[in-house]
Every structure is written in C-alpha cells, then in structure tokens.
C-alpha cells in the first residue's frame, strides 16, 4: 500500500506551483486559476488524511472548500469582467487604483 507521504508530497508540489503561479502571472484570470490550483492541492491533502484516518471530516472540508471555490470564481470573474470593461486589460499591475 502507498504511504501517505506520496499524496502529501504531491499536494505540496502542486501547492507550490500554484503559489508561484499566483505571483508570476500577470493575467487576472490565470491568477484565479492558480488559486484554484492551490485549493485543489489543499483538497488532496484533506482527502488523503481523511482516508488514512478513516474520518469523514476531512472529506467534508473538501466539500466546503469547493463551495468557497465556486463563490470565489463567481465573484472573481464578476470583478474580472468589471475591470476589463473599464480598463480594457486584464493585467493586475494596471488595476492598481481602488476606484474603478
């Protein structure tokens, strides 16, 4: 049987990739995608621990995380559209004024 470290390590790798992506990308949509990546990495860790401890709680957290991700996508993309309408760009560095 696989040791749990395999899954946790995979989770850590994906999380780091996501974190790096959030920092290095300039396109807002890609940044949001990278955040999803990080959330997914966390999900994997949750499920792994839930499975190895035989406890449902971890799986439930994944459920909640998915809810949060859905909410984040809805609001985030709403913001993206708003920014794009006013700025004609999706570069985060351009969207540096609080007032749209």
């Amino acid at each position: 049987m696989l040791p749990i470290t395999n899954f946790i390590l995979l989770s850590a790798v994906i999380f780091t990739i996501g974190a790096v992506g959030v920092f290095f990308k300039r396109n807002i949509i890609t940044i949001l995608l990278c955040i999803e990546l990080m959330l997914n990495a966390a999900n994997l860790a949750f499920v792994a621990f839930a499975s190895y401890f035989g406890d449902t709680t971890g799986q439930l957290f994944v459920f909640i995380v998915m809810t949060v991700a859905a909410a984040e996508a809805a609001v985030g993309l709403g913001l993206v559209i708003a920014i794009f309408r006013n700025r004609e760009t999706l570069n985060v560095d351009e969207a540096n004024i609080l007032k749209l």
Binding site: F23, R26, V92, D93, N96, I97, L98
Partner: protein, 695 residues
C-alpha cells in the same frame, strides 16, 4: 411514556389554516375563508376530544400517578446541558384546557363568520384567529417552559394583531394605540417570566415541567412566609417572577390596564382571546408549576392578595361603565382575580374549574354582546339600548343564562365553581394564620355581590327597560372614549329597529348557553354531591388531582400531592352553610341590581368608578412621565449624544488618522500583496521548522 402523533395534529391544523389563509386568502370569497378557518379549528377540536378519551385509557405512571401522552416533534435547542426539545405533552391539566379552548374557539370561529360578514380584511382576521389558536395550543401542550414561552409570546402577538385589527382608525384611544398598550404591558410580565425560566434552569437543571415539579417536590420544606423569602432566589423568587408574568397575560393588578382597552378589537376576539382563552394562560401557568408555588407560601399570599384585590377593584369599576363590552371586560378581570385567589389559597383545581366554566359563560356573554352590538348597528353604549328583549329573543334568552351563571345562580355552572372557590378560601390553611383565609373569603363574597349587581345592571339596561335608541342622551362622553367596530356610522338611524342576528351567530350562542348552564355538573362540590347521595361528585378536581399540587383545605402546608390525594373528610355542615350563604349573596345581588336599576337605569355612580380608579392617570404620572423625562434629559442628551456618539466619533477620528498614515502601505499592486503573503507563509513554515528542530 405513551407516544402519540395526535397532539401534533391538534396544533398543526390551525397553523395550516393560518398559512393557507395568509397566503391565498385574499383571492378567496368569504364562504371559503370562513369554512377553512372554522374547519381547521373543528379538526383540532375533534382531535382534542380523541386525545382526551385516549388519555383516559392511559395507565397512570410515576409516583404521582399522572397520565401522560407524549408527542416529540423535533429537537429544538440543545446547548450543553440545556435541552429544549419541541415536544408536546398531554396530561389532565392540559387535556382539560385543550378541549375547552378548541371547543370554545370553534364556536367563536363560527360566530365570527357571521359577525365579520362584509368587513374588510376578512381573510386577515381569520388568518390571525387561526394563528392564535395554534399559539394557544402550543402554549398549552408545550412540554417545557421554553415551548410554552413560544406560545406565550405567540398569543401576545396575535392579541396585538387582533386588537389592532381596525388599525386604520386614528386617535388617542383607538385600536392601534390599544394594541400597542396591550403589547407593551404584556412585555413587562414576559420579562419576568423569561427571568423565571432562567432561574428555574439554574435551580432545577431542566425546564421540562415534569422535571421542574419534581424538583419542587424534592425541596424538603416550604420556604418561610416572609418578605425576605423573595430575595433568596429560591422557590419564592421563581414563583413570584412567574406570577408577575401571569399578571401581565391575565390582567391582574398592576398590569390589568391593557385588557379593558383591548375591547377595541372585534367582539369575537374579545370573546375568544380576552375572555375565554389567552387571559387564562396565567392561571394555567400557575397551575402547571403549582408544586413550586406550594413550596413558597409567601408567593402564594401575594397571589391570593393580588387576586382578591383585582377581583374587588375590577368589580367596582364594572359597576359604573356604560360601554357594554367594557363592563364585560372588567367582569373578566374580576373573574380572573377570582381564579388567582383560588390558586393563591392552594385550590388550583377549583381555579382551573372556574377557568372552564368562566370560558363558557364569558364567551357566551361576549358573543351575546356582539350580537347586540351588531343588532344595534355597532352601538356599544348601554345608555342607548334598552327594551331589546322583544327584538332579539334568542340573544336575550341565551344572555340571560350567561347572566345567571356568572352571578352564581344556583345549579348553573358559575355557581358550582364560585362556590367551590369561596369554600376553599374560607377553609384554607395555606397560610400560617387562618385569619387571612377568612379575610380573602370576605373580599370574595363582597365581589360576588358586586358581580351580581353589575351584571344585573347590564341586563336591565340592555334588554328590559324602555327603548332609548333614539335618545340624544349619552353623547356627551365623546366618541374618542369608546371603541367602535370600524364603522363610520354607528347606532340606529331614525325609524330603524334592532334585528336578530343570523343563525351562524345564534347557533354558537345556544350551544354556549347550554354549556354555561350544565357545564358545572362535572364539578359539583363534594358537599352538595353528598347531599344528593353522590360521593366524589367533583369530577374535575378528581381528574386534575395528580397534575396539580394540593394544599389548603385538603392537606398539610406544603404537603406532597401523594398525601393529599387520599380522601379527606369534609366538614359537611360548614360547606353546606357556606353554599347557602353564597346562594343568598347571588340572589341578594340580583335583587339589589333590580331594585336600583329597574327604576333608575341611568343612575350615575361616583365619578372615580367611572374613571376606573384613575389607574391609567396614576401610571402616567408616576411611571410613564418620569421615564420619558429621564430618557429625554439624561439618556438622550447626556448619554447618547455626549458619551456614545462622542466615543464613536472619537474612534472614527482615530481610525481616520491611522488610516491616513497606513494608506501608504496600500500600493494597489496586487502582486506586492501576494509577495508579502508568500513571505509571511514562508516565515511561518520556517518558524515551525526551527521550533521542531530545537525540540
């Protein structure tokens, strides 16, 4: 514990009715609305009867031998050891209440379909009425104090909505003002009740009625009968707080002022809520927790005193009122005082019995007055009535039954219950000094005479003397003083005569008249029963025995209910003597009433009585006015404006200043934020690593 789902049906039938009417009633015609409203309450009534008979077949359980039906609905609030499930329980006390509440409620609903004919907001009225029935039944059937509190507040809300039913009318003494008054006065009592619930949980560890009574029983001895007992936070304090709650709901001194004003609502509301059912909730609560009261003689003394004073005071006011509904309202307050007097001297069974008989005859009287008001085209002033016997024979006959019943005319229902209360008061040993019992009996007897007098006055003025419909007399008191039923035009026009009401109104009157006449035979006092050869004829008290505590004439002070359940020898001579005396009182009162008002129906009584002892003015001067002044000068101008606003503004200024400096951190560059977050995360991970390494 016997589990059933019947009780859920009893409470939910009216709720469904209220929901249907509230949501869709606007599009229904009157027939459908009336049908739905009456039918749902009818269903409740039938289910209540079934539940009652089921209960009779249930084996008694526990040391107290209480029969119980239990219907758990859902777990409601659970915090730590505090549990308040939404459960319903039927025991003898609640069974009796449920049956008469649904029964009387059903009749009044039928009456109202006729009475409210053609009113605006017909469906709204019945939606509230059904909602009221739901809440009242929750109040009665709730298995713990919090569920009861839900019903308690619910009936308060419905009462508010229904008193203010004609909210369009504007003015200082008009329905919306009365509704607000009722609501606010009730809140005072509710606060006390809420505190009592908390205190009970603290002391007894549970708010289930069964557990609370168990706790009270387990107290070894009653607390001493002193004023200091209230400060101990024990049974006396709890009992007193609950009683304050009861004074609010049941209109006792000092919180009785809302009930007469509540007559601004439609008459069926007055009959159902402000005479028969809701106002007896206080008595119900006291009886429910009677074990606690038994352990607190000083609280019992307060209850009896307040009850007796209320009974007497309200009766005197009732003597001088001109508005037919006001007379009945003060009569209700007075009779409620009687019930509390009974509870205060430890005769809880007699008190509850009086609740039942009173529900019959008072509902009958109110409905009769409604019939009169409708027949007189919304005229409520008795000075403009008279001679109605010819025109409204059925109303007259049924009201006469109610009149005799409330006066305590022999062999009618009021006679039995009132007689029982007076006898129990006379022989009580709930108090250290038996003289108290005799004093209370004296007040009760005086009240009984006064009751007979003012009720006779009402009948004489309304039905028997010459017709005064078109007299100009009586307009001097102005319209503002008298709550009419929402019609710009009221009173009879020239040439009109009063008319009898439709069958939908007279039928409930007849049924109630029969109930008021024979309803007392379920509780014939044991002495009288003995006289005609029937032992233990007081079936009601026998039925209630397990579920209320016993003290006073039946057993030692603070005796356990079990001991009291044993048969006790009666002092038959004393009881029969007192019975004979109360017959004399009733007949005497009726006679006096005839003698005075027959000749001189418009006799003016002392102004202070007509002005209701000026209690409202007293409250205005001593409580409301000072509070208003205090709020204005100190709370508003000093505390709110200076301190609170000042504090808030200071905080706001400080934060603005801080923000002014901090804003330079907000570059607006998302990625710099991300970098900081990343740095922070890395620092955290590093910290934990180092810490782990050090370990």
């Amino acid at each position: 514990m016997n589990t059933t789902t019947l009780l859920g049906g009893i409470i939910f039938a009216p709720l469904i009715g209220a929901l249907v009417l509230g949501l869709f009633g606007k599009r229904m015609n009157e027939r459908t609305v009336g049908l739905i409203a009456s039918a749902t309450v009818g269903v409740s009534f039938v289910l209540a009867i079934i539940a009652f008979t089921t209960l009779l077949g249930v084996a008694p359980e526990g040391a107290e031998g209480i029969r119980r039906l239990h219907n758990p609905l859902f777990p409601w609030i659970e915090v730590g050891s505090f549990k308040a499930p939404f459960d319903l329980v039927l025991d003898p006390l609640s069974a009796l209440y449920v049956v008469f509440v649904t029964g009387v409620g059903f009749l009044i609903h039928i009456f109202a379909t006729g009475y409210m004919h053609g009113e605006g907001g017909y469906y709204r009225f019945f939606c509230y009425m059904n909602l009221f029935m739901f809440n009242m039944l929750v109040l009665i059937l709730g298995s713990n104090m919090l569920v009861m509190f839900v019903g308690w507040e619910g009936v308060g809300l419905c009462s508010y909505l229904l008193i203010g039913f004609y909210f369009q009318q504007q003015g200082p003494a008009f329905p919306n003002q009365s509704a607000k008054k009722a609501f606010i006065v009730n809140r005072i009592g509710d606060v006390a009740f809420a505190i009592a619930i908390m205190l009970v949980f603290m002391k007894a560890g549970s708010i289930e009625f069964a557990a609370v009574n168990e706790w009270a029983r387990s107290l070894t001895a009653a607390e001493p009968m002193t004023v200091a007992a209230f400060g101990l936070g024990g049974a006396s304090t709890i009992a007193l707080l609950m009683f304050i709650g009861a004074t609010g709901k049941s209109a006792q001194i000092p919180l009785f002022v809302w009930l007469p004003d509540a007559m601004a609502g439609p008459t069926p509301v007055s009959a159902l809520i402000h005479a028969a059912t809701m106002v007896t909730a206080g008595v119900y609560m006291v009886a429910r927790t009677s074990e606690v009261f038994v352990k607190a003689p000083s609280a019992m003394f307060v209850v009896a005193t307040i009850g007796a004073l209320t009974a007497l005071g309200a009766a005197t006011i009732g003597l001088a009122q001109w508005d037919i509904k006001k007379v009945l309202a003060y009569s209700t307050v007075s009779q409620l005082g009687y019930m509390f007097l009974a509870c205060g001297v430890g005769a809880f069974g007699a008190g509850v019995f009086h609740v039942v008989t009173h529900a019959f005859f008072k509902a009958l009287l109110f409905l009769g007055s409604g019939s009169v008001i409708l027949g007189m085209h919304h005229e409520q002033d008795m000075r403009k009535m008279g001679g109605l016997r010819k025109f409204m024979p059925i109303t007259h006959a049924t009201m006469a039954v109610g009149w005799l019943a409330i006066c305590g005319f022999p062999l009618l229902s009021g006679f039995f219950s009132k007689d029982e209360i007076l006898y129990q008061t006379f022989t009580t040993n709930a108090f250290a000094n038996p003289v108290f019992g005799k004093i209370f009996w004296g007040i009760g007897a005086l009240t009984a005479i006064l009751t007979a007098v003012y009720m006779t006055r009402l009948m004489v003025l309304t039905f028997w003397t010459k017709e005064r419909w078109h007299d100009d007399h009586g307009h001097d008191h102005g319209h503002a003083d008298h709550a009419d039923d929402g019609h710009g035009h009221h009173g009879l026009a020239k040439g009109e005569t009063p008319h009898e009401s439709p069958w939908s109104m007279t039928l409930p009157l007849i049924v109630l008249a029969i109930a008021a006449a024979v309803g007392g035979y379920v509780g014939v006092p044991n002495g009288l029963g003995h006289l005609v050869g029937i032992e233990n004829s007081n079936m009601v008290e026998h039925f209630l025995e397990p579920s209320v505590a016993h003290v006073g004439s039946h057993g030692a002070v603070a005796g356990h209910g079990v001991e009291a359940a044993a048969p006790v020898a009666h002092d038959a001579t004393l009881e029969l003597g007192l019975t004979a005396f109360s017959i004399l009182l009733a007949l005497g009162g009726i006679g006096v009433g005839f003698w005075i008002f027959r000749k001189n129906p418009l006799l003016k009584l002392p102004k202070i009585l007509e002005d209701k002892w000026r209690v409202d003015e007293l409250y205005e001067a001593t409580i409301i006015h000072p509070i208003r002044k205090l709020s204005e000068s100190i709370l508003w101008k000093a505390v709110d404006v200076r301190s609170i606003d000042g504090l808030v503004n200071a905080v706001a200024d400080g934060i603005r200043g801080l923000g002014g400096t901090m804003r330079y951190l907000q570059s607006g560059l998302t990625r710099s934020y991300v970098a900081v977050i990343l740095l922070g995360a890395a620092c955290l991970v590093g910290y934990f690593l180092v810490q782990g390494y050090v370990k």
